[in-house]
Point group: C2
Chain length 442, copies 2
């Protein structure tokens, strides 16, 4: 076990125009910010001022949902491809980790290994890969599949995919790039180890055509909360984020994952648990709650219906009254843990479709004064429900600025977060070890 | 036909550490530049000072060749993934077009459409896609294939691939992104047209999850010089680059392509022909030739052998004397036009393996004073062997700086090139029309 004191880590979870589905409609939101690089650059600078560890770009390789009319009312219809955006952001930031989602279901390991290695070199060791197996049915239709790959099968594919990607990152041993003009030796052939992988899903010879990433491997993020997903995270993940409704649930998840990590032969201190946090700061608790209510009023009926449908199953809710109960919804091939969590919540609290929608719209789950929000973070952190948080702001940039200027100083005062970036890579700033390189034969 | 006077366009062809296979060993070369973003940023700024139209990143999704020992002596063992590099460069440049190679053989149309659209938005209309069908056998092995796709088949796949990508770029009509907070309408559903493509190689529903690129479509580059490749270029290409040994060959290619373009129902003025140029500037002709000889001496025997082998066929040349004749080499599944050109040259001039290697090492084919080089460009341009040039510098950054500071001013003085960037997009600077958008139903 490490003896360094725990410190709380922070990531900003950026999903389209903001974490709240109707956030783009807020009077202070920058609605055209999605495709404006200057907007993203300014956000990244704000986050570095708050010493956020990571800027995390959520992603799907499709529109975010499938009911086009409802989508036309959400701010998630367009966004930069994450690797291109983060590469551009690497030039205007110095410290923050740059994390992008990429699916193992509709990608090739060689391309994924290469892009993240390239970002890691561009950013001098600040890349992170959020491994997903895809949940949106439209992705399948964009890649020649009539149906999304079955849940267990896509995790098997993901296991092999990650194995190949790691082997590709290790194609060149550390230090094997000599670039010696006199002898004409650009690299030491003894340091080259192409994976020559042959498996169930992939055959990849390698080597990768870029030297080993500065971090060894970019930091691996993952978010599966199903049994299969948690086991996958325990094997591969270094930062696991999760949606948890309350501290008890977060603690159970935290303890369960750390146990699985240890059982998998890994050090539990080297796997960080980051619940998603939806904060909204107000001068008073009442002001914060009023802000939430204002956001909720901006959610169009069609969007509310779609949100429930997209998150829970395949049932068309068009004919169901929005202010009536959530009907029985048949199982689907999407994220199981999220479905169970949300349906459970709806049954337990007897929610209407609209009420459930507002719970999953990305509206603040922690709305209050800076002190109240800092208290929440401190409680979950010290009570082992969290090592850090993946923070989603309802719209941008205002609520992110408020969090950085009002909540972060309190976390600093309480000694929960680092004051400055002390490491030279993302991995170092998170306190995660650098994966060892193969040895070069002498 | 357009009545505007023709102007000569310039692209910089960047391939690893430089166009010459041993360029990285030159005393003035920056050998570690490949993975140093600052180096690429400085090069891009130099090129903008010279009002280059394009910075073009050549690429393969593998190491550049397959004889690992020889590769260890070349500067092409590592390079940034082009889309990540160009996205980063978009933040430190204002005008230059950013062109990357991406293969249609080992990619999915959705990913390619998305990345180039994203780069086009990031750069405010400066993206270009060089469409290739792949020629390096190692690429197949990195994507689960035991053999490279057969020549005709990979062009059929490429045709369909380009069709899908263009349809994806057109998913949202121009002007359909409303982002109207009051009505809550982010886009106009009438402006959305998902491709719903079902073809021989691809099934892609769409829409793309990003609005139409600023240029409508990024500029399409292509370089096939075989019969099949030329026909493909005539159908899809907007800038065609080509390797031509002399003016007569270039003129024949130029006339042939323009005729095919017209036959395909397109305006020949909207397809630019860019022969590859390998210039090396000296204060005198003798000095320039001495520079070439110095570079040639840096080519290691193994590298010379590999160059011939990789460019011509599958015969292992290890047992053949480097200073003996080029043997008969069996046909392979690689670039046919390049093979025919090089073998023809070897036979015609009775070249040894080493001599042929030095012809294809990327050493200067036009070495001389700035005036001599400008004369060459002017002749090929006015005699209709070229509309512009894809300029490859043997190493970097020196020879690029020399070209910008010594050759470009002469081209300006002669009225051959524009003095400044006059358009607001890459496409406009090249004098190419913007593809029309679908009409939005009223």
């Amino acid at each position: 076990m490490t003896t360094a004191p725990r410190t709380l880590s922070l990531g900003a979870f950026v999903q389209g125009a903001g974490g709240h589905i109707a956030g783009w409609r807020h009077p202070e939101a920058y609605a055209a910010g999605q495709l404006d690089f200057a907007f993203h650059a300014e956000l990244a600078r704000v986050l570095e001022r708050g010493r956020f560890d990571a800027l995390f770009i959520a992603d799907v390789a499709a529109l975010w949902g499938h009911q086009m009319d409802a989508l036309s009312r959400s701010g998630r219809a367009e966004h930069f491809e994450p690797l291109t955006l983060l590469s551009a952001l690497s030039t205007v930031t110095e410290h923050i980790g740059l994390v992008a989602t990429a699916t193992t279901t509709y990608n090739e390991p060689f391309h994924v290994a290469r892009k993240f290695a390239s970002l890691d070199h561009l950013s001098h060791g600040r890349a992170g890969w959020n491994i997903v197996t895809s949940v949106v049915p439209l992705e399948a239709a964009n890649f020649g599949r009539s149906e999304h790959l079955e849940h267990e099968l896509r995790y098997r594919r993901a296991d092999e995919f990650v194995e190949v990607v790691r082997a590709l990152w290790d194609s060149f041993a550390d230090g094997s790039l000599l670039r010696d003009k006199a002898s004409g030796s650009y690299y030491d052939p003894a340091g080259l180890r192409p994976p020559h992988h042959q498996g169930e899903h992939f055959t990849v010879r390698g080597p990768l055509n870029i030297s080993r990433p500065p971090q060894g491997h970019p930091v691996l993020f993952q978010a599966g909360s199903s049994q299969t997903g948690m086991a996958f995270g325990a094997r591969h993940g270094e930062v696991l984020f999760t949606l948890q409704a309350d501290l008890a649930g977060a603690q159970a998840f935290y303890a369960g994952v750390k146990k699985q990590v240890a059982a998998a032969g890994r050090n539990p201190d080297h796997v960080l648990i980051w619940p998603i946090l939806f904060p909204l700061v107000g001068g008073t608790e009442e002001e914060a709650r009023r802000k939430v209510a204002e956001l909720d009023e901006l959610v169009h009926d069609d969007v509310a219906r779609r949100l429930v449908q997209d998150n829970i199953g395949d049932l068309d809710l068009t004919e169901y009254p929005l202010d009536g109960p959530v009907p029985d919804i048949p199982d689907s091939n999407r994220s199981k843990s999220r479905r169970d969590l949300l349906l459970g919540l709806a049954r337990q609290e007897n929610l209407t479709i609209r009420q459930l929608a507002l719970r999953i719209s990305g509206g603040a789950t922690v709305a209050g004064t800076p002190e109240q929000i800092a208290d929440h973070l401190e409680l979950w952190f010290t009570e082992r429900g969290a090592d850090g948080f993946n923070v989603s702001f309802p719209y941008l940039p205002g609520p992110a600025v408020d969090f950085v200027d009002q909540v972060v100083p309190l976390l600093r005062k309480r000694g929960l977060v680092h004051e400055t970036y002390e490491g030279s890579t993302f991995r170092e700033n998170l306190g995660l070890p650098r994966p060892a390189s193969q040895e070069v034969a002498a």
